[in-house]
Structure formats: C-alpha cells, structure tokens
C-alpha cells in the first residue's frame, strides 16, 4: 500500500482538522469575537478549495475513495455552498446564536467534509457513511436556535424523516448488496451484467432495491413524494442552514444518485430493460416534483417556504438531466447545480439579511425594497430570474442544457412538463419581483449586510451572469467530469 498517493485525501483531512481547530478556537479564546470564527471558517474553506486544486486525481482504498473529476466538481459546489452559508451567517452569529458559535461553523464544515467524502465514495458502505456524516450535523444545525420553537421543530422533523429514510436507504443498499454480492459500485455493475447474461433476466427484486435507494436519496433531494419535510424544515431552520440544505445537501444527494444509478445501474436506464428501467421511475418523480413544487409555491406567503417549494421543483429539473443518463445529461446536471448554487444561495442570503433586519420572512414585507435598497432588490431579481430560467442568466443555459439532454434521451414528455411548469414557476418568482419593485407602499426597511454577506451576494451575482454568458469553462469541466462514467 505504499505506492498509494495519499495526498489526494489532503483537502478532506485539512477541512476536518480545520473544523476541529474552530472548535478549539471557540473553546480557547476568552473574549469571544464571533467574527474571528466566521472568517476562519471561510479561510478554511478557501484553503480547502485551493488544496483541492492541487491534490486531486487518484484512487485510494481500492476505489473506495475516488478523487475523480465528478467528485472534484461537486466538491467545489459543496465548498462553495458552505462558504456562502458561512458568509451569510455573520449577522445571525453575532445576534441569534449566543452559544456554541464555534460549533455552528464547525458543524457546517463537518457536514461539508461528509459531502466531500460522499462525493468520492464509489462503494455502498462508504456512501452510506458519507450520507450520514452529511446529514447528522445538519440535524443539529437545523435545530440550532434551541429556544426557537420553529427551529427545534424543524430539526426534529428533519431528524425523524431523515432517520426513516436512512433506514429505507439502508434496506435498499442491503438488497443491492444481496443481489450483486458486492458493495463496490463498479463490481456491482459487472456482476449484474453477468447475472443478466447467464439468466437472461434479473427479476423484479432489483427494482425493489432501486426504489428503496431512490426513496432514501430522494429524501436528501426532496424529490416528490419524499419532500414533505422540506418546507417545514426550510422554514424553521436558521436561514443560512436552509440555504446550505437546499444546495449543498441536495448536491450531495445528486452525486450519490449519479454514483449509484448512472454509474452502477446504468444498464437499466434504457427502455430495453423495460421492467427494470429506473429512468422512467425517476422521470415520473421528477415530473411530480416539478408540478407539485411549482404549483404549491404559488400560494406561499413565507419566502423560505416559497423557496423550499421552488427548490423541490428545481430538483425536478435536475432530474431531467439525470434520467437522460448520458454524458450531456450528467454534464448538464453538474452545470445546473453549479448555477443553482449561486442563485439559491444568493436568494437565501438576501432572505437571511432581510430577516435579520425585520424579523420577518413574509413575502409581503419585501414591498418596496427597490426604493430603499435598490442594489439588493436588483440582486434578488437576478437570483429569482435565474431560478426561473430567464436568459442570459445562468439559469437559462442550465435549463436549456438539461432539457436538451432530456430530449436527446427521448424524454420529450418530461421536457414538455418541465417547460410548462417553468411557465408556472415564473409567476411566483415574478411575484416577489413585483412586490419589491411595483409596490405602492412606502418602505421603511433598508438593509445593510455585513461585509461577508455582501461578498457572498457579489460572488453569486457575478457567477450567475458570468457563467450564464460564458458557460464554457464550467460546462467543459462538467463534461469532463461526466466522462468518468464511460457511457
């Protein structure tokens, strides 16, 4: 084992140690300045990003840890979302979180480490542990305002449904293990083909395993009908955590899904394998997610709930690219998540800042924001329009790619559903813009975000516009990352 390139683990190890360091910092320093912790968390994430650029590409532990392009791509998304979540937390960290500030940041980093491990996992056990390592800190983070009834309720709901889904996922994984005799995803693929070749069929047991795994990962993705927890948890959890949940945690689910299904069970994505076709299952769930998410979002009055339903719908769009199960499909999913990172984190950051100032999450209280804080109203509009998929913002190119992949793979009906529901989605996104811009009420609130929050917003806006007009670099990278699946 000496010839192994251990250095590819450095980013993860560094981030883990940095999380410990932040705990230590919080415990060690007497005069507690919350900003130091926040900045050090951001610094740690930045350094991890740099380390990631240096140490990557390789396999460790007989393929259990794969530092391939897909993993790297998604790790950047995780680090980005954690960075932005930390950045938008400064205000609440100094006001609302009076205890355990170090833990707050540390747990975000822990969860990020979990996601990073998860995205590198190409083996079921590691994948499951990575999943838990991602989720358990998030349970705690969701309930971090311990005195706030909503927050604790959110944490509890997340925990119970999460544990439930985790059990279902485990059962699915156990069936997969039983059917293939291995926990390694690539071996799994080979074994299944062998069984298929020798028996001519695999039988419906595999579909049971698939559905249970879909359900387990569907929880993380908040895919309909496994989405019920999402609106409540999103509403109750501290807003930066909600943002992190909606981007980081979802991206983790996406990459886990890609690893298991697109890599391991790719052979069953086609119509040829009709009864075992997971593509059609996921396609139906994605359609349901788009319809339900978008329609339910219409009548929401709380911005976090609205964004929760919106993110349910968004994952439906992502899944359109996923079911395509092609190089373009996976690349479009990656690109979509990348843009979604900016748009959603940005929107939630505004919501955080706004909530700090006004204590309200009601959409109605955004009335006239364009007059007092024109810049932030413009930012918010850009985020929402990107989510709605208006060109030339990033969301458009993302949706376009995803739909193109869907049509290429023959899921025309799904793309039609997606397009129709995106018409609906525009209504509620535009509604917020309307409230901000076209409201006769005299606004009183002026928001002044802290420097890191400003930075986060700026990064998001630039990201959306830049990568919307020049999607090239990201898309190329995503395409390269999709190549690892060898379609």
């Amino acid at each position: 084992m000496t010839d192994q390139n251990w250095s590819i683990l450095i980013p993860e190890i560094f981030l883990f140690i940095w999380a410990l360091f932040i705990f230590g910092l919080d415990l060690g320093i007497k005069r507690k300045n919350p900003k130091i912790l926040g900045y050090s968390a951001m610094a740690g994430l930045t350094i991890t990003g740099i380390l990631l650029a240096i140490f990557n590409g390789g396999i460790l532990f007989k393929g259990m840890f794969q530092s391939d392009q897909l993993a790297i791509f998604f790790k950047v998304i995780f680090i980005g979302s954690a960075f932005m979540a930390v950045g938008s937390s400064f205000d609440i960290a100094s006001e609302k979180i009076r205890h355990h500030r170090g833990e707050y940041y540390g747990l975000i980093l822990f969860s990020t480490v979990g996601m990073m491990f998860l995205s590198s996992a190409s083996e079921l056990i590691t994948l499951y542990i990575g999943m838990e390592l991602t989720t358990i800190p998030l349970y705690v983070l969701a309930a971090f305002y311990k005195d706030d009834k909503l927050s604790v309720e959110a944490g509890l709901k997340y925990l119970i449904v999460g544990a439930f889904s985790s059990a279902i996922l485990l059962y699915g994984l156990s069936l997969l293990y039983g059917l293939t005799g291995t926990t390694d995803i690539v071996t799994m693929k080979i074994n299944l083909s062998l069984v298929f070749l020798s028996y001519g069929k695999i039988g419906p047991g595999l579909i049971l395993a698939m559905i249970m795994v879909i359900a387990g990962i569907g929880f993380k993705l908040a895919l309909v009908p496994f989405h019920m927890w999402a609106p409540d948890v999103y509403q109750g959890a501290p807003t930066p955590i909600t943002a992190f949940l909606s981007v980081g945690s979802k991206a983790a689910g996406v990459v886990a899904f890609a690893r298991i299904f697109v890599n391991g069970l790719i052979a069953f994505a086609s119509d040829v394998m009709k009864p075992l076709d997971w593509g059609i299952i996921v396609a139906i769930l994605a359609a349901a997610a788009m319809i339900l998410g978008n329609i339910t979002a219409l009548r929401q009055r709380n911005i976090k709930r609205m964004l929760a339903y919106s993110s349910i719908a968004q994952i439906g769009y992502v899944m359109v690219g996923m079911v395509a199960a092609s190089e373009l499909g996976i690349a479009s999913v990656g690109y979509y998540m990348f843009i979604y990172l900016f748009a959603n984190m940005g929107a939630f950051t505004i919501a955080t800042i706004f909530n700090d100032k006004t204590g309200s999450d009601g959409i109605i209280s955004y009335s006239g924001l364009s007059k007092t804080s024109p810049i932030f109203a413009a930012y918010m509009s850009i985020f929402l329009l990107s989510l709605a998929g208006i060109p030339p913002l990033g969301g458009f190119a993302a949706k376009y790619l995803v739909f193109a992949a869907g049509i290429q793979a023959g899921y025309t009906w799904l793309v039609i559903v997606a397009l129709l529901t995106s018409v609906v989605s525009l209504y509620y996104y535009a509604n917020i813009i309307k409230t901000m811009y076209f409201s006769a009420e005299e606004p009183t609130i002026k928001i002044h975000p802290s420097f890191p929050a400003n930075l986060v917003l700026l990064i998001s806006v630039i990201g959306i516009i830049l990568f919307g007009i020049f999607p090239g670099p990201i898309l190329d990278w995503a395409l390269e990352s999709a190549k690892i699946f060898a379609f």
């Binding site: 355990h100 540390g106 590691t126 705690v140 059917l179 293939t180 069984v195 695999i202 047991g205």
Partner: protein
C-alpha cells in the same frame, strides 16, 4: 432443530417489535425492543455472524437502549397522554398501507434472482466464518477507510448531542 430455533426467534423478534409499538409506556417499549433484539441476535448467530450478533446485544441492549431509558427517565413521561384524535379510518389506512408494503416486499423478495452461487440452500460455512478475527481483519484492512470515517461520525455525534442536550443558561452563568 435449526428451523425450530429460527421460528422461535423469528416469532420473538417480530412479536417483540410489534409489542414495542403497541405499548403506551415507553419503558415497556424499550424492554420489548431489547427482547426483539436478543432474538435477532440469536438469528445472527444462526447465520454464522457470531461477532456481529454479539455486538448487536452489546451495542443495542448495552448502550443505545440504555440511552433511551435514560431519556425516558429524564423526560419523566408518566403524565403524557397520547390520546388519539384521528378517526379510526386514518389508522386503518395506515395499517393497510403497511400491510401492502409488507406484501410487496414478500412478493418481490420471493421473485428475487440471486447470483448463481447462492441459489437456494446455503453452503457450509467455513468454521471461522463471522468470527472476530476474520471480520476484524477485513475491517482493518479493506474497510479501513469507512472505519476512520465512523470515528468522525462519532465525534460529530458527541458534539451534536452536547450542543442539543446542554442547558445553555447555566453555562453562561458559570462562565461569568
């Protein structure tokens, strides 16, 4: 003989689990769960998973369920009434759902095609199959990486649980 042990343990395990969810008193639930898990451990042993079977008792009965008992004591739940406001229909639907679920599982499991070598009857296991040493060897060589990940997970559990369970006001006063 084997079959008899299986059936007895199976009935105890399933019955214990069933009784657990039917109990009003959570302490009784915990005890039934322990019963169920012990029966499950017997089945593990029957499946030559000696080491894991004993772990099941140590970890679950010895640690996790003790934790449950502590919480029950801590919360002092005696007064709590879980009166059902929902109509019977609701309960009926849910039970139907679970029964359907179980039937689906059974039907599909019966139709499952497995890799050739595990078709119907089990082959004789090697004598040390499932023993401490082979499992340990596997764990500390092949699965070394998930093992280390587990330590991070446990650390997170400590931190998370301390954050959640600690009373913050006391701490603040103590620090001043």
């Amino acid at each position: 003989m084997e079959l008899a042990i299986f059936y007895i343990s199976a009935i105890v395990a399933a019955g214990g689990a069933l009784m657990m969810i039917l109990q009003r008193n959570p302490v009784a639930s915990v005890l039934y769960l322990i019963l169920s898990l012990v029966a499950l451990a017997v089945l593990f042993v029957q499946l030559s998973a000696l080491f894991v079977g004993s772990l099941l008792i140590i970890v679950y009965a010895g640690a996790i369920l003790v934790l449950f008992l502590f919480v029950i004591m801590l919360l002092n739940l005696r007064g709590e009434k879980f009166t059902s406001e929902k109509p019977i229909l609701d309960k009926g639907t849910k039970i139907t759902l679970v029964v359907l679920f179980f039937m689906e599982l059974v039907i599909l499991i019966k139709q499952m095609a497995f890799p050739q070598r595990m078709d119907s009857l089990m082959t004789q296991a090697s004598p040390d199959f499932g023993g401490v040493e082979p499992v340990a060897t596997l764990l500390y060589t092949k699965y070394l990486y998930p093992f280390e990940l587990t330590s991070i997970l446990l650390l997170v559990a400590i931190v998370g649980a301390v954050i959640m369970a600690k009373r913050d006001k006391n701490e603040e006063e103590g620090e001043r």
